[in-house]
């Protein structure tokens, strides 16, 4: 984290949301979709409130089924995220599932090597 700027982190959050959108077709459900899409459109101009809001969304809001993402879906999502972060060979350390939120998954991906 220490090497990342505020703008880097905001852009990386957009990458995670973009990956979730591509994987599930969802922007976090009807209650969140408008705000998520607005953040994706302008991550640097979004307010701190919106940065916090999209970061706190759990993966379950995108995958609906509490048993998802399963192994294949997690691998697919991880691949999608690390390719967007321009580190396609980064290894998934595991330890995340449907209860993980966007902020946590972003941090895991940022830290992965």
């Amino acid at each position: 984290m220490a090497d990342l700027t505020r703008d880097d982190r905001r852009r990386n959050r957009k990458h995670v949301l973009d990956a979730l959108k591509q994987e599930t077709g969802s922007s976090g459900g009807s209650a969140a979709a408008e705000r998520v899409d607005a953040y994706r459109a302008d991550p640097l101009g979004a307010s701190t409130v919106e940065f916090g809001f999209v970061g706190a969304l759990t993966l379950q809001r995108f995958y609906i089924d509490p048993d998802k993402p399963n192994k294949s879906e997690r691998r697919s999502l991880w691949t999608n995220i690390v390719e967007r972060l321009d580190k396609p060979d980064a290894t998934d350390p595991g330890g995340w599932d449907g209860t993980t939120n966007v902020s946590q998954l972003q941090a895991i991906a940022e830290e992965a090597e």
């Binding site: 984290m1 409130v49 999209v54 048993d67 192994k71 595991g94 902020s103 941090a107 830290e111």
Partner: protein, 360 residues
Amino acid sequence: MSTRNALTAAVCLLAAQAIHAQPASTAAAQNPAAINTFEVEGGYNFLFDSQAQDEDYYRISYLGSLIESKGTPFKSAKGLDLTAPALSTGAGDRNDFVFRYEKNTTTVGGELLEATGLKPVPFRGLEALHLRGTALVGADLETNKIQAAVGLESPPLRIPGFQRTSASNWLVFGVNGQRQEDTDSASQDENFGLLTYRAFLGQAFGWRKSADVKETAAKLVQALLDQAPDLDKAREVAAKIEKIPANQRTKLQQLFLDTVGDTTPGTDWKQTVRDIAFGTADAITDQPTLSFYAEASGWYEFTGSTHDDKFKNLFTATIDYWPLPQTDAFFLRARYERGYERAMPDVKKDHLLLSIAARF
């Protein structure tokens, strides 16, 4: 205690819970909410096969300790097991190739062992397709057959007609070479060429607030400012939190790092804390009333098949319902499953699972 008595107890507890709003101490909880002391969970499995018998189970716990139980929760109901560690299909796997082991989850009461792996495979000239390599090993321990397959899968595609909806939906196609080994007889060994698909469609409805957003935000603000009343102190705390691997941090620890990271020079630390706490509280208090999701997966044996039916699939449809407006401590689930697991291509499922869970 009989199943009927257990379910009656659950209904009585539900009625008792209905008169209480969610307490402030659980306001920041995430779905499923509530800090539990008492749990009741039960389910019934209707098997639409005249040869098979219906199954049921129940479990009652207090402060995490089991008081009484009967049977084993169904695979499909494991999401209701609120005190259990993460699902076997959930967190913690570090490998590209992981085994899943389940018992008493099929219509024959057998055992199922299945594993899947997934890796991106770049092919020259086909990079734009973003194909992924797949692997599967499945074993039916009842009939002593082992299935092994390798192949390619597409990235998730949108289901036609649902591209512009807010529903979660995806469709994945694949092609596989599969080998079936019978551990008892070489005459049962077979090689197949398979076309596969997986489709999912789901949506949550009736979004509401399970707790007051301002109260929840105030708790988060307090928790963050207790750790660091000013930015200098916050940076000290952040440096310590950063030493914890990201996949082991709590949500609050990660929120703290987010707050420090989003504080620019010259901005008010406390205001940033209030802003990010409000956004977070707004997200975590969102709760659906009803969610519906359906999944279908299947395979077509285009070569090497010795089966009469070359196409087989498994369809599941689930409804989760949280009936009480101010608590998520009680919910109902109905799930219908029909078809074949790929690891057990000769055993047809056709059943309805009804489950109920309450925690207080």
